[in-house]
């Protein structure tokens, strides 16, 4: 029984990270209808940036989040302005954007290889191995902090989209870009902003990932896969739905250890993806866009 509780607990702790990864992908897909195939690459880049700031300047990984946020926001703005915007309008959601962003991913990967070599890295802090006890189960402090940050991100994203003028504009563009131009919303600016915020979230997810798992320049494909599963399962409808979906994915992965050999847990994300796409292609809660 306590083993069961342990597993539920570790699923909850993992879910925060998965939800953060998924927001980045989901926001861009919801607003621009473009699947950011460079998502995994941005997560990897965020992880390296956090790691570098920690190794070089001794900056605590959680304190480096604002820096990573800024950098990956800029990266996203540049990616949108220089690349995605140039695609012909009809092609933006088609194979062209996939191939284009895939190219960006390859470039990011190569840059990481050149700068940091292909070695596995992980951010190790003084409190990395410390743990506290929750109802008798030991829980890593690190993972608790990650969950906390993920919750803060979820709440602030929700507040931003619901309560601010810009957030409303983003939701409006997600629903109908053409009508938005009629009422004077600068759609192109909203696209740029959404792409920037989306990649910023991916970058932060990278830092969170780096504090828990080891990573190398090849990292990102399983993160992309999991984020996508979460987005599809949770729908683009609500932050809450994404959270629940992240919990389901995390739980599936944690419990898969019981029946699958450990090297196959990565394949769980894929299996879930196929199952979800077949049985709930509209997501658990139906398909509503950011409303």
């Amino acid at each position: 029984m306590s083993r069961f509780f342990d597993m539920i607990l570790s699923a909850v702790l993992l879910a925060g990270l998965y939800a953060t990864m998924a927001y980045g992908l989901g926001l861009i897909y919801g607003v621009l209808r473009v699947v950011n195939l460079a998502h995994g690459g941005v997560i990897m880049a965020g992880a390296y940036l956090g790691w570098y700031l920690h190794e070089r300047f001794g900056l605590d990984p959680y304190l480096s989040i604002p820096v990573v946020l800024g950098f990956s926001f800029l990266l996203g703005v540049v990616m949108y302005q220089v690349l995605v915007r140039r695609l012909p309008r009809g092609a933006a959601g088609g194979p062209a954007s996939l191939l284009l962003l895939f190219g960006v991913w390859l470039v990011l990967r190569n840059i990481a290889y050149l700068t940091f070599t292909g070695d596995d890295q992980t951010i190790r802090t003084a409190y990395s191995s410390r743990s506290v006890s929750i109802l008798g189960s030991p829980v890593s402090v690190n993972r608790l902090v990650v969950l906390g940050i993920a919750l803060v991100i979820a709440v602030s994203l929700h507040g931003f989209l619901k309560r601010t003028q810009v957030g409303r504009a983003i939701r409006a563009v997600a629903q109908n870009a053409d009508s938005c131009t009629l009422v004077g919303i600068d759609v192109n600016r909203i696209y740029t902003l959404s792409f920037g915020i989306g990649t910023a979230l991916s970058g932060v997810a990278g830092v969170l990932l780096a504090t828990i798992f080891s990573f190398n320049p090849d990292a990102g494909s399983s993160e992309l896969l999991k984020s996508f599963v979460v987005v599809v399962l949770g729908g683009l409808g609500s932050i809450f739905g994404v959270g629940i979906a992240a919990l389901i994915v995390a739980a599936a992965e944690v419990f898969a250890i019981l029946v699958l050999p450990s090297y196959l847990t990565t394949a769980v994300g894929f299996l879930l993806l196929v199952l979800v796409l077949i049985f709930r292609p509209g997501g658990l809660f139906g398909q509503r866009v950011l409303s």
Binding site: Y29, L87, V104, L106, L114, L225, L277
Partner: protein, 342 residues
């Protein structure tokens, strides 16, 4: 991505206005002759010229990759479903071939056929995925690729794990593989053109342009995607089998690697996605480029692939075919201009 218009009927047809072909001829006579001449020239090449082992290697590799790239294009170009997981079929073809050779001592062609069939059936197993379109499909293929790489790396009894398999191929058989590869590339190239111009090609085009509209006129997207994916998988598996035999040593990390999947995408994109013969050009350029880059800039080639993808998609979505069309059009316009001038 824009669609290349089906090629116009040969100019002979224009002289007789009574013959209006709604579907162009599958292969016109000059095209057929030119194609056979190319294949014949390549077939006698090693006999006439004293090819170095290096050149022989390179051409054989290019021929195998041509077949793979063309087959990728059936799915990625004709149907418009971009797959990032074709390495799975390539690897399965290779390892089934290897296993059949090592365990059952079957002759080469039987092994390749076996590999192709298993790869095709594996692709058919992707049936549930084929209901997915666009990005959903693409991301699912990334998953299939990764999952199959993991499964086959750890399935040591079948693939030899990370130590790989050594195939029993003597040097004569290896030398003859050149013609097998040429035959495969030739057949697949002809098949590409025929598929593109046949009613099957039009159906695929309809599916690519609008699945729902295609369904309205009675074209079952599921059936044709299954068909094309299975065919594409079988050909890629066959290419994998030939590749495995030729290099006589294979390991899962290489055969199922993400790089290999990227390779198929890139070959088609360089040549021209959706054009029937663009991937031929793409594969040749890719193999030369890869050999050069791996020798000179091994740490840069991934990024250069990425840049290449970005530039092609932004500036010339139809790759080399699109580029050559543009150049031809410009030349023709200039030629027309001077002839009016005299």
């Amino acid at each position: 991505m824009t669609e290349p218009s089906p090629s116009t009927p040969p100019s002979g047809a224009a002289a007789r206005p009574t013959r209006v072909a709604p579907v162009p001829e599958l292969i016109s006579r000059p095209e057929g002759v030119g194609f056979l001449a190319c294949v014949a020239a390549l077939a006698v090449l090693p006999l006439v010229l004293e090819l170095s082992a290096y050149a022989h290697n390179l051409i054989t590799l290019a021929l195998v990759m041509i077949a793979g790239a063309l087959a990728w294009n059936w799915m990625g170009g004709f149907v418009g479903q971009v797959s990032f997981g074709h390495a799975a079929m390539f690897g399965i073809g290779g390892f089934v071939t290897g296993r059949l050779m090592l365990s059952l001592h079957l002759p080469g062609p039987a092994c390749w056929l076996g590999g192709a069939i298993v790869a095709g059936v594996f692709a058919l197993g992707a049936h549930p995925m084929l209901r997915l379109r666009g990005p959903y499909f693409s991301i699912a293929t990334i998953g299939v690729g990764e999952a199959s790489r993991l499964v086959f790396t750890y399935w040591e009894r079948f693939t030899g794990g990370s130590t790989g398999l050594s195939l029993p191929i003597d040097s004569d058989a290896k030398y003859c593989l050149y013609w097998w590869a040429l035959g495969l590339a030739g057949v697949v190239a002809a098949a590409s053109v025929v598929i593109r111009r046949s009613s099957l090609g039009l159906k695929l085009l309809a599916i690519k342009s609008d699945v729902d509209a295609a369904a309205d006129v009675g074209i079952s997207a599921t059936f044709y995607q299954d068909l094309i994916f299975a065919l594409s998988g079988a050909v890629v598996g066959l290419a994998g089998g030939l590749y495995a035999s030729y290099f006589s040593f294979i390991e899962p990390k290489d055969m199922f690697g993400f790089d290999r999947s990227i390779g198929f995408v890139l070959m088609a994109v360089i040549g021209g996605v959706g054009t029937p013969l663009g991937p031929v050009l793409g594969a040749v350029v890719f193999v030369l480029l890869r050999t050069y880059l791996l020798a000179s800039y091994p740490q840069l080639y991934l990024g250069l692939y990425g840049l290449l993808l970005i530039f092609i998609i932004l500036f010339e979505p139809l790759g080399l075919i699109g580029l050559s069309r543009r150049v031809l059009r410009r030349l023709r316009r200039r030629g027309a201009g001077t002839s009016v001038m005299p």
